[in-house]
């Protein structure tokens, strides 16, 4: 048998039909659904008299629109159009018999945090969702990617996707990370290296000692941003940490089923002499705490760097950099650590898990955020929130001056009341710094939870390694 990559193995196990030209029907094991990209798909089913083929494998949770303030049970906290979307999901989930975590359920949260938490995401699966950050689930060694609404409808109706196979890319992070460097810094540094289109046409497998050393939470952060590098999906081969994380979760297999599953899961790795179409290797020790200065996730630099000059770039990127520097209200050549901020957002499917909150709490413990700073922590799920309260993290946040919110997508995409005002500048643990992403004319700097927490204390972008110096 010819050697295979992890992606090859998962792909081969899910091809339900292959046409002569290589177009495949890829069978989908888990379909996650949220309120924003699904109403038109369910409407399409109704209009054509179709139904959901596997409601037992379809999981719905509202997250994008829902307010995260403590008074959200009061319907008046939501705009009419948001309410209509959430109500539509409610109706569709009930009418088609889906697994459903409504806003009132403690398990509600960001779809990419709820899936793994409830054991829906398991190694070797195919997982899709009408959301580009579905790549997150690749941390389990599952093939997971975002799809459009027409494809949501296609998966609902047929439990398959029409796909052609992508190419294989290996991203190896060798050795150990330096102190203060996290999973977020790895994934941002990789995008800085490849550019936002560098992964287009590929599925990335992240590997190497620095990746193996990451917790499952950290691995989810890395895979989450595979899409920002343009890749269809990001994967990490499952290992004992993966199995340990999955074991005992509500929808993970039990008993003999668990043993059978483990038998297959342990074969899910790339063979030694598998073929890679592209390989990128980065030394873990060379990765520094990273921040973005511009309006694309590829506009990333070590915190010790300076804002670049537009003339440092070539091609279409010259104008893009000029526009980004102006939009961001920066000066060429200024130190990144001189950039003052007025808002801090810690949360999102990139960094809204318990480990992220622990990292922020370690920085904030016994300290106060800078006066006048607006700072919020939005846990990724109701269960993350509960755990953070149990561990005493919530008190640390509140004592430091952070708002302690309910679960949702919040300011990552500002489809809810959590938004930046024009000109406001935010240290954010989310995944996109596009123009207007966090609010009209809002300015976003992406970074890790520890770096965002440090920025909240000092009021400017801060090198976490220098915080106490």
């Amino acid at each position: 048998m010819s050697p295979k990559t992890l992606y090859d193995k998962i792909w081969d196990a899910h091809v339900a039909h292959e046409a002569d030209d290589g177009t495949c029907l890829l069978y989908i094991d888990r379909h996650l659904v949220h309120e924003v990209t699904s109403p038109q798909a369910f409407e399409g089913l109704r209009m054509t008299g179709r139904t959901v083929r596997r409601p037992d494998q379809t999981i719905a949770v509202p997250d994008h629109n829902v307010p995260t303030t403590l008074d959200r049970a009061n319907a008046a906290t939501m705009t009419e159009d948001s309410r209509v979307q959430v109500a539509a999901l409610d109706t569709n989930a009930k009418e088609f018999g889906l697994h459903y975590y409504p806003v009132s359920d403690v398990r509600q949260g960001i779809v990419h945090i709820v899936g793994p938490e409830q054991g829906w995401t398991l190694p070797g699966m195919t997982v899709v969702c009408g959301d580009s950050h579905t790549a997150t689930h690749g941390a389990f060694g599952s093939l997971a990617h975002g799809i459009g609404t027409s494809e949501v409808e296609h998966v609902l109706a047929t439990q398959t996707l029409i796909q052609k196979k992508s190419k294989n890319m290996k991203v190896e992070i060798t050795g150990k990370l330096a102190p203060g460097v996290t999973a977020k810094d790895i994934t941002m540094t990789v995008i800085g290296e490849t550019g936002t289109a560098g992964g287009t046409g590929y599925v990335i497998e992240y590997c190497g000692e620095a990746i193996r050393d990451l917790s499952m939470e950290g691995r989810m952060t890395v895979c989450n941003m595979a899409i920002e590098g343009g890749a269809r999906a990001g994967l990490i081969a499952p290992d004992d940490k993966t199995f340990e994380y999955c074991k005992g979760r509500p929808h993970a297999p039990k008993g003999a089923q668990w043993e059978a599953a483990m038998g297959w899961w342990k074969t899910l790795y790339s063979d030694d002499d598998a073929h890679w179409d592209k390989v990128i290797t980065i030394k873990g020790e060379d990765i520094a705490p990273a921040v973005t200065w511009g309006t694309s996730p590829e506009d990333v630099l070590p915190i010790t760097a300076k804002v670049p000059a537009a003339s440092d770039f070539t091609g279409g990127k010259v104008d893009a950099a000029k526009r980004a520097i102006e939009y961001m209200g920066l000066t060429e050549g200024m130190a990144l650590t001189d950039i003052e901020i007025d808002t801090v957002f810690i949360g999102s499917c990139t960094n809204g898990r318990i480990e992220d909150l622990r990292a922020a709490a370690a920085v904030l413990k016994g300290k106060k955020i800078k006066e006048g700073m607006r700072a919020m922590i939005v846990p990724g799920s109701g269960l993350v929130r509960a755990q953070a309260e149990e561990e005493g993290l919530a008190d640390i946040f509140k004592d430091a001056g952070f708002e302690w919110r309910l679960a949702g997508c919040s300011m990552c995409l500002a489809m809810n009341p959590d938004q930046l005002a024009p000109g406001e500048r935010c240290a954010s643990t989310s995944n996109r710094n596009f123009e207007g992403r966090q609010g009209f004319k809002g300015r976003t700097h992406l970074m890790s939870p520890a770096m965002a927490a440090a920025a909240a204390l000092t009021g400017r972008l801060t090198d976490i390694r220098q915080l106490d110096a």
Binding site: L25, G148, G316, R432
Partner: protein
């Protein structure tokens, strides 16, 4: 779905790289539960000021580009969010072809589900078409999907690549779901075999 076969139309130049789907249709317009009506908000935050007045410098607001049917854009068009509202807005505006050096994966796939032809061409060919597009309504670009050619207003002809299956569906306005359902027997047998092989799923 609308068929796409031939198009002769005005092309608008948007030379920016990394035009993301948040730019194409900002999040406040994702709260609709319909697919139609988004054209008026296409590129909203670049096209209108905060009071809702048109920004005169924005390309689609210029008189010669009001009837644009083709966009010529920079590298990595459609990156970011998977929102299909982006191609819905583009199609609702009346644009059915986008030409760029490269496209983000999900956006590219979403276009074909909505009667839009995305064409990736080498940078130097896009540069030539960009110059053509800058001539406004004086220049019409012709796109022929069957022949897989683009003809500039000066008569330069470029050929382009497109997946044969996607081309077939677009030319005939075929519904993917209907086509897949014809293969229901394959899905059924895969599903029963998978239930044996991986009963824990």
């Amino acid at each position: 779905m609308n068929k796409f076969d031939k198009l002769s139309g005005i092309a608008a130049p948007m030379p920016m790289v990394n035009i993301d789907t948040d730019m194409i249709i900002p999040k406040q317009f994702l709260k609709t539960i319909k697919r139609s009506g988004l054209g008026v908000n296409l590129f909203d935050e670049m096209r209108y000021d905060r009071d809702g007045n048109e920004v005169p410098d924005f390309v689609l607001n210029k008189p010669q580009y009001r009837e644009t049917q083709i966009l010529v854009a920079g590298d990595n068009f459609g990156c970011g969010s998977s929102r299909e509202h982006a191609p819905w807005a583009i199609a609702d505006f009346g644009i059915t072809c986008v030409i760029a050096p490269s496209f983000a994966d999900i956006f590219y796939s979403n276009c074909f589900k909505n009667g839009i032809l995305p064409i990736a061409l080498p940078q130097e060919q896009v540069d030539l078409l960009m110059k053509d597009a800058e001539k406004g309504s004086n220049a019409r670009i012709e796109v022929d999907l069957e022949a897989q050619t683009i003809t500039s207003s000066d008569g330069d002809v470029f050929t382009f690549q497109v997946d044969a299956f996607k081309k077939h569906c677009l030319m005939n306005g075929l519904d993917d779901i209907g086509l897949t359902m014809e293969k229901a027997a394959s899905i059924d047998s895969f599903e029963s075999a998978a239930a044996q092989a991986r009963p824990w799923v």
